[in-house]
């Protein structure tokens, strides 16, 4: 099943499971969303469960907060990553903090779905990786599925969470197919996962970069290097257990991400791994990331986004220590 259909199926399951679940967003009803992730859901559940809202991102998130206060579980779609910033105030000053400000008396079960990242050759503000803004904000949980199976289960787990969840969907993976086991979830929402075993070095990353890391691992294998790949899945909180286990076995680690590197998620994970597993490391933890520039025009995104070769260059540097 394609990734977008898996999330669609997960949303359908959540909508069927509780009539308090609402989907809200621009063009998500009749059109089914610009990526068709919500296709067919308004026809099935009605205009009061799947809302085509006015074009106003702060309004979307702010009213979702009010709906949560009224006992609903809203799932907001932000159409593109770069469009989340008009809602940034409501997300960071309100949504993230309201449970704390209410001293636990209110919960904020709001999910913000954001298609993010590059690889689709789009125009400005349509290919960004804003995850660090949200992981930096206490009170938010941030997750990013990278497979159809995770898309199906993690969206349901995010909706079930009593806390606000920023749900980052790697948009370049919407058409990627994979097995979905609808009978049982493999992992809880906040677990990281080793997706490929290896012995020489650990690659860690999230979202679309998981596929790129696997490509790099396959190429390295042909050259005799055994790479282990960890999919972070949860960006906040980070599940360090599998990462540290892996690094203690391989002694080396590279973090790969599309986002700019400065004060990024990769920076945080690298620093934490060095703090927690310093004596296991044979080399400093390295980062492969986008550059610290605005996301470039599409014709340059190939030069901006890390690919398997850039990851392997970092692998070689690490192994050379």
């Amino acid at each position: 099943m394609p990734f977008s259909r898996a999330i669609n199926a997960g949303l359908r399951a959540a909508l069927s499971g509780s009539d308090r679940v609402l989907l809200m967003g621009e063009d998500i009803g009749k059109l089914g969303g610009v990526f068709r992730v919500t296709e067919g859901l308004q026809a099935e559940f009605g205009e009061q469960r799947v809302l085509d809202t006015p074009l106003a991102e702060s309004g979307l998130v702010g009213t979702a907060i009010g709906l949560a206060m009224a006992g609903f579980r809203p799932v907001v779609e932000i159409q593109f990553d770069g469009f989340v910033f008009p809602a940034f105030d409501q997300i960071t000053t309100q949504l993230a903090k309201l449970t704390n400000r209410h001293e636990g008396a209110l919960q904020m079960p709001v999910v913000i779905r954001i298609p993010y990242g590059g690889h689709i050759g789009a125009v400005e503000h349509h290919q960004e990786s804003p995850e660090a803004y949200f992981t930096h904000t206490a009170g938010l949980r941030v997750v990013s599925p990278s497979t159809p199976n995770d898309g199906y289960w993690m969206i349901q787990d995010a909706i079930a969470s009593p806390d606000p969840v920023i749900f980052l969907e790697p948009k370049s993976k919407y058409w990627q197919k994979g097995e979905v086991d609808t009978s049982a979830r493999a992992l809880p929402l906040h677990a990281s996962r080793i997706v490929r075993r290896g012995t020489d070095i650990t690659l860690v990353g999230h979202g679309a970069m998981v596929t790129t890391m696997l490509q790099a691992a396959a190429l390295a294998e042909a050259e005799g290097t055994s790479i282990e790949v960890v999919d972070l899945r949860s960006l906040s909180p980070v599940d360090y257990g599998p990462i540290l286990d892996s690094v203690r076995r391989t002694g080396r680690m590279v973090y790969a991400q599309e986002a700019p590197g400065f004060t990024s998620l990769g920076s945080e994970v690298a620093a934490s791994v060095m703090e927690r597993a310093f004596y296991a490391l044979e080399a400093p933890v390295l980062r492969v990331s986008g550059f610290d520039v605005p996301f470039p025009p599409a014709k340059l995104e190939g030069a901006y986004l890390p690919d398997a070769d850039r990851i392997l260059e970092a692998v070689d540097r690490s192994l050379a220590y």
Binding site: T63, M69, F72, Q94, A105, L106, P237
Partner: protein
């Protein structure tokens, strides 16, 4: 300052307390005349008592007991009228100056003190019945207008309004100011409210100044006219006339709860004090202007009206005693408020366990414990 549109202004009480409904007030006249003497005395009591609280809180801040105080001095009529107009089942979303609104709904004034003393960012539980469906203060301007609108959407979706039963149907009132009306969130809230026909009253207290910026810098046209642009009936009231505030808000809330969609009210009032205890109004406005508004004081106006109706000296003495008692009680309880535990900052960041927060809480506990008995 934008001249007040006298033809549109709903006013019952002149500044000297004379009962003289303006032409725009006529549709509300019957409602006002239905008020009992006891109702009128309650309005006065509410205003006078909260002013004593407000003065006491300002003093407490000056004495270092509070980090900050946003005075409500001068805005009592707009707040009391609107809060008394709300029915028990209604939901209120204040901004941060609606001290008497929260008190009328049952919130203990010491809970506001806790916010301003630095003990909490919330202070009360809006879902606790004793707090009368009153939400916590919101300091980021205009944010709460969206929360109120979302809440109103929920009422629509759940069929909790528009059934025709005024005693059961629910409505929402959200408070904001002239400064907040420049925020994009207020615009978006009105767009959503219009789209989903929320049972909601947008209650704008125009107190003329957004800290040091006058309303004329916020708007080239009267603020109440903005509501019309969103398709909602909009009414201008004399915000220093508690009767106008009560009658218009009661009507608007009932129309909203009955399925009439959102309504807007602009209450023309004035904050006689500072924006908060951090600013100095003498730097940005004239004493002549303040004096002209002092002559329109909402409490003096109502007192003159009640005396004209034959209210007894004993009544006013009783209100004075209650005011003094509340002020004294607040001072006593403020001084008795305890502190916070270090652990408290880690509480309620999330509803479910979060390993990073847990780790840091444990680290701080271990760090603090490392000093205990270390000298021996």
């Amino acid at each position: 300052m934008i001249p007040v549109d006298d033809a549109a202004l709903v006013r019952f009480l002149e500044a000297d307390g004379t009962f003289a409904p303006s032409p725009a007030a006529e549709p509300y006249r019957q409602a006002v005349e239905s008020l009992s003497d006891a109702d009128l005395e309650t309005f006065y009591r509410d205003m006078a008592v909260i002013r004593a609280f407000d003065v006491q809180a300002t003093n407490l801040q000056r004495q270092g007991q509070l980090a900050l105080w946003p005075p409500s001095y001068g805005q009592e009529a707009a707040q009391v009228g609107s809060a008394r107009a709300a029915r028990a089942q209604d939901h209120l979303f204040p901004s941060y100056r609606e001290h008497v609104v929260t008190k009328i709904r049952g919130v203990d004034p010491i809970d506001i003190i806790r916010v301003m003393r630095g003990l909490t960012h919330g202070g009360w539980d809006p879902t606790d019945p004793k707090n009368g469906n009153t939400h916590i203060y919101t300091l980021v301007l205009g944010s709460q207008t969206l929360h109120a609108t979302g809440f109103g959407m929920g009422l629509v979706f759940d069929g909790r309004c528009g059934t025709g039963d005024l005693d059961r149907d629910e409505a929402v009132i959200v408070y904001y100011g002239d400064g907040a009306s420049s925020q994009g969130d207020v615009h978006e809230a009105m767009v959503f409210a219009g789209s989903y026909r929320t049972p909601e009253v947008f209650f704008l207290q125009n107190n003329q100044w957004a800290i040091s910026v006058p309303v004329a810098t916020q708007s080239r046209s009267p603020l109440y006219k903005r509501g019309e642009g969103y398709g909602m009936p909009s009414t201008l009231i004399d915000g220093n006339d508690v009767l106008a505030s009560w009658a218009v808000t009661r009507t608007a809330l009932d129309e909203a709860r009955a399925g009439g969609g959102p309504q807007a009210i602009e209450a023309m009032t004035y904050r006689l004090g500072a924006h908060t205890t951090s600013d100095d109004p003498t730097k940005y406005r004239t004493s002549d202007e303040e004096e002209s508004w002092r002559r329109r004081d909402p409490i003096a106006r109502m007192k003159a009206f009640l005396i004209g109706k034959g209210a007894s000296d004993a009544f006013f003495a009783d209100v004075d005693a209650e005011s003094q008692a509340l002020a004294d009680d607040v001072r006593t309880r403020t001084n008795a408020l305890g502190g916070l535990e270090r652990d408290d900052m880690f509480a309620h960041v999330y509803s479910e366990q979060h390993p990073l927060v847990d780790e840091q809480r444990q680290w701080l506990a271990d760090y603090e414990a490392s000093f205990e008995g270390g000298a021996s």
